[in-house]
Point group: C2
Chain length 98, copies 2
DNA sequence: CAGTATCCGTATCGATACTG
DNA sequence: CAGTATCGATACGGATACTG
C-alpha cells in the first residue's frame, strides 16, 4: 500500500521498459535481454504494464507467428523518463550502470 | 541482487527525495510529510541516501539545535529526474498522483 | 515460442517500544 | 527532537516443472 508510483518501482520494470524502447518486442528476446529474470516474473511484469496502459500485447498470426509487445503513447512518455533515470545512474553511480 | 538502480526504487525513497527538494530538511518534517512512514524505515532510507551520496546529514548546534538533511549535487540531479517521474505520473496516472 | 502453476525463502515493511 | 532496537507479517521474487 501507498506504493508511490504504481507499477514503476517494481524490480525489472524499468529495465523492461528500457528494453522495449530499444526494440525488443518478443517474450523470448526480453527474457534473454534481462539476464536472470524468470518467465513467471516477466509474465507478471508484462501483464502489469499492459494493465496500466504502458504497452499493448498483440498476437501475430503471420509467419513466423508470435507475440509482440509494443509501447503505447503512455509507454513512450515513460520511456523518456526512464532514459533520464538511467542517464542519472550512469553519470552518478559508477558501479550501478546497466 | 541485480537491483537495477540501487537505492532508487525502494519504497518511499522517491517521495523522500521529492520532499527534500521541496525544502523539508528535518527528520520530524519528513516523517510528517510522508504520511504512514515509520521512524525506523525513514531512518534507513535517509542512511541509504546518505551512503550513496545523495544527501548530507549535518547536526546543527544552533538555536534550536537539530539535524538537517541537505541534497548534494548528485541529489540535485536526482531530484530533477524524480520530478520527471512525478510529472509522468500526474499526466498519465489519473489515480496515482501524489 | 510464450507463457502458467506452484512452492519456497527472504527481504522488506509495519508496528511498538524505547533512548541520547 | 531524532532517532535505534526488536520482532512479527507478508509481499515479492527466485526456482523448477509443466503446457497450449
Amino acid at each position: 500500500m501507498a506504493r508511490p508510483l504504481g507499477v514503476v518501482g517494481d524490480r525489472w520494470t524499468l529495465l523492461l521498459v528500457r528494453d522495449l524502447l530499444r526494440g525488443r518486442s518478443h517474450f523470448a528476446e526480453l527474457e534473454e535481454s534481462l539476464e536472470g529474470i524468470f518467465p513467471n516474473v516477466l509474465s507478471g511484469r508484462l501483464k502489469a504494464l499492459e494493465d496500466s496502459g504502458v504497452l499493448n500485447r498483440l498476437v501475430t498470426s503471420g509467419r513466423p507467428p508470435g507475440t509482440e509487445y509494443q509501447r503505447t503513447d503512455k509507454g513512450q512518455a515513460l520511456a523518456a523518463v526512464v532514459g533520464a533515470i538511467f542517464d542519472w545512474g550512469t553519470e552518478w553511480e559508477p558501479k550501478a550502470d546497466e
